[in-house]
Symmetry: C2
Subunit: 695 residues, 2 copies
Amino acid sequence: MDFSSFVTSVGTSFLIFVVLVLLYVWLSKKPGNAVVYYPNRILKGLDPNEKGSKSWIQEALSSTEQDVISMSGVDTAVYFVFLSTVLGILVISGLVLLPALLPIAATDHELRNVVLSGEAKNKTFTDLDKLSMANIQAYKHVSALRANALISPELKPEQYAILVRDIPPVPEGQTRKEQVDTYFKTIYPDTFYRSMLVTDNKEVNKIYKELDGYKKKLARAEAIYAKSKATGKPEGTRPTHKTGCLGLAGKSVDSIEFYNDKINELTPKLEAEQKSTLREKQLAAALVFFTTRVAAASAAQSLHAQMVDHWTVIDAPEPRQIIWSNLKIKFFERQGRQYVVYIVVALTILFFMIPIGIISAFTTLKNLRKLLPFLKVILDEKAVRTVLEAYLPQLALIIFLALLPKFLLFLSKTEGIPSESHAVRAASGKYFYFSVLNVFIGVTVGGTLFSSFKAIQKDPGSLVRILGNSIPENATFFLTFVALKFFVGYGLELSRLVPLIIFHIKRKYLCKTEDEVKAAWTPGDLGYGTRVPGDMLIITIVLCYSVIAPLIIPFGVAYFGLGWLVLRNQALKVYVPAYESNGRLWPHINVRIIAALILYQVTVLGYLGVKKFVYAPFLIPLPILSLIFAFICNKKFYRAFHDTALEVAARESKETPSMEQVFRSFIPQSLNYEKNDDDQFEDALSQVSRTGSIV
Amino acid sequence: MDFSSFVTSVGTSFLIFVVLVLLYVWLSKKPGNAVVYYPNRILKGLDPNEKGSKSWIQEALSSTEQDVISMSGVDTAVYFVFLSTVLGILVISGLVLLPALLPIAATDHELRNVVLSGEAKNKTFTDLDKLSMANIQAYKHVSALRANALISPELKPEQYAILVRDIPPVPEGQTRKEQVDTYFKTIYPDTFYRSMLVTDNKEVNKIYKELDGYKKKLARAEAIYAKSKATGKPEGTRPTHKTGCLGLAGKSVDSIEFYNDKINELTPKLEAEQKSTLREKQLAAALVFFTTRVAAASAAQSLHAQMVDHWTVIDAPEPRQIIWSNLKIKFFERQGRQYVVYIVVALTILFFMIPIGIISAFTTLKNLRKLLPFLKVILDEKAVRTVLEAYLPQLALIIFLALLPKFLLFLSKTEGIPSESHAVRAASGKYFYFSVLNVFIGVTVGGTLFSSFKAIQKDPGSLVRILGNSIPENATFFLTFVALKFFVGYGLELSRLVPLIIFHIKRKYLCKTEDEVKAAWTPGDLGYGTRVPGDMLIITIVLCYSVIAPLIIPFGVAYFGLGWLVLRNQALKVYVPAYESNGRLWPHINVRIIAALILYQVTVLGYLGVKKFVYAPFLIPLPILSLIFAFICNKKFYRAFHDTALEVAARESKETPSMEQVFRSFIPQSLNYEKNDDDQFEDALSQVSRTGSIV
């Protein structure tokens, strides 16, 4: 790729970005779009334009971490710590490396003559020390954020509960409920509150969903009927629909009557199913509630049974993020599933290597012309050529990577992980390995191998030499890849063009009731599962290529700077977190930042080694130092992210919590439909003095 | 080594063994020797000859596991589980492998023609499965032993305490004691009993030891004086001694007066030092006591501080096995020390490779004659030659290995491990690596390399071939090594000749008081630190060589069979355990048994591969299966050995324990001299209602 096509690519990207930002400024001011651009504020009951006079950039820059936490939770705040840490790393790297490395990269083979480089080495050294220290500071900060969130007097039901799995078979003459209660009452005579058995809710969920669907349809039919009264004849037109396949075939019926019949038919069925679920479909898992946070935090960390695969406990996830269907999976089945999933992921990574390698090899123009000579006429057209050269490979890559996250999340859930946030972290880890291995190594090595295949066939020993020499050729690929991602990606993110269009279409043609309209604009969450590994890929690429193409550093800075700005805006105004893990994703991020740093340091070593730079051996301690830093971080901080420290849990809120409210918040919606005084709950309730307020 | 020298060696060993056993039977019946042969019974207040009519073999065979536990504790019982498991493995291996492998080993190169071998493979397969299953059974059994020991209503003070280290600096305006008490009272308002700060006892220990020494000397002088009254003149001779170097020079003084003066001088000094130690020499560590076992067990497993390197807790070791001087070492210093020790151990292993290699190379007669031709005349003497061939190499090896354990124990304590039993386990692990690497690999490879050095110099590629072919030559070396170890080693063990001689000399010439006599016969413990790795080395050698020299299996069976018998006798009658870790050494043993099995399976594979045995690939799943078994064992059982399961701790004894007795049992002797109502203790005592009985 020559310089002109590179400039074209970056220029076009920038132009698209400017257009999208202008679109955002214009569109976000229209009141009708407020629900698309300020849903988080609206859902929290705030005025969308509360800081009306400031521009969105000013707003984002002036917002504090506390603002982010109150609007979007600790996880989002931790994500910004990540963005700013990486930004800091790149800015420092840029300040130190650019003046030193640009001349080296420019003169290249006269490397040994560059007097500057000894100095550069020393600078890099202190620089890298700073980076590691910054990492420890960031870790400390996030740890404090987490502690504060856990200390907060706000009632978090999950802080009073533990999740118990692998309960052994019920002994003769006892019910499951008695078994669990006896076991925990013996161990915790003073702090045990009550237990909630996990049930197999598949059937009841199905009926609940069906019933809920009919209720929504009924509301919709009634809205249509009411509207027809207002607009047309005063007696209105009763809506009808066909009962056959997709509402296109079969007998035509009066919708309101039909749905009412269905609801009347399903309601008793649901109640019967709820009863039988609570009584007969109890699984070998339970939630156990304690009267104090310390008791729950301590119980979650303690071994309960002499056989480690019985009565296993972990801290309870938030009610909203429990993956109920995974709770019944047994200890060794979970282990087994985990390894099977690892193998599947490994195979996926290897299997995708092939298409990505082919794509990257095909999508350099020279290769295209070499392999498909009949395209020569089109490819020699200057305009076509520039655009193709600029976008083809990057686009293929981006689309390709977008297909994967759902599959990886599915795999992670298959492992038997009991909480949504944990599954997302697991998927994110897999996605990171996938993207780094495939995109970074696959494109670099694959592209190189393809073009040099014949040379290698003649002399296999030349492989190392070819790799060492030809990696720089791919640098511009990644430069444009990064530019495309941040300009177009963040432009689309900020302008929310796609959600805006979908919302307006839905509102105009599909939505009949208020609930439907709300469902049409309700935003998702920030989506760490794909966002974090995406960012990690960028930081890895930027760091590794910074040695051979230092120009990539400003692009990296722009990516994380723009990202911080745009996402700050989105976090404050748009996205609503689906769960809160109190920063548990940080150790995951931190270890990968350090991994990227080590990969970077090894690349520097290798590159300087290839270039026969005499001071290269002095850099060998760097990766070792980074490893020690990673080790210290892990030892000093990690466990506080896995377990709740008792000193944190011990700062009880002054008020006695409503234990009943805690308990009820864990009852699945489908079991808590209209009556919630069924046996299991009623039995337990009657044993407890009702001290708290009942909601 | 030819067959005759092999027979000579084994025969001589057996003869020595028979003589030693006969000596034992004769000597142990003399009443004057009872304290040497039955010290454990005597110390427990039992009649040494309670089962007088039975022979020692009958007694050992008829003893139950419960007998072993009541006489020598759970650790010893676990050691016997280890011996019998290994014995079982070898008996099964012998039954299956001997009929199949003996003909193979005999016919060797016609291996492919042996029809039996397919069958042998299948047998080995099911056999190995059984071995792994036996391992799981053994693990389950030991786990139950541990649980029973922990459930027992007998008061174990360490079950009510945790050890807290890395206490942060004392906040302004608080004492260390207040800091600790406040911290734990906040977290455990109901179950916290009191705390005991760890102090720097170096000075007070020194004075205490000096004072104690003078007291013993005074008692001795008084005994001499009393005796002189009885035998000589009625007024007696007052003993005197010189105060100078070694009691040989200087002024002659009246011993009784002199020691009384010293004691009167030191007693107030000790009291003053005790006071100042308790007040001023407090360290950043403490023992914290709880009123229930569950609270202590749960606290020991929970994270207390948000910064993982502050307020670190572990379960308290038994009072008698706390290594007090290690308690002050800080979190990251412990980590650092650990890695430094690992490096030192690795260097030791590598460094010792050289002398052992040289010894083993020199000590084959052929080599001696080759290298030291002037010895030819002596070496060609038939008698000299046979004896030398039989014993030289093995003796060098055994003496060599005996030097090491103390050094490794010292290194393990340097790591900062807080309990004696843990340090012994750590040392035992190091000793295992050392002995397997050095003895097994060093002697095998070293001996082989030395004799083939010239061949390799000419053609380095021949190394693999030489190794594959020449390992069998070393088999007889190990055969005699094993025979020597069990016949002579267990003979000496049973007959206790060395302790017997030392005891009689001491009693006759040195001991004057009853205490001194008792000190002369008080036995040590079984010494797992060196015994376990020694046994592990034997099982590794026997398993690995069983393929190429199946005759080694009966030797292995004899080693573990005789070992079981002799040590059962010793455990019931002689040794007194120095501490009780409730079987915590088992996981350590189990993982090494499986490691030996895997090494064995890989050896089989390699050997059959070298011999081009067509069915060899079918054996590849074996090591993988073993790994899975190891994984399952570890997952299912290990944590119950590291932590105390709460269901076990929850079975409280009916009686309320005397919490004061629990507390007092942790006070170091040197601080608890005559007055024990000093400030620290008194302060704490006054806060507690004295519910329990005071001892």
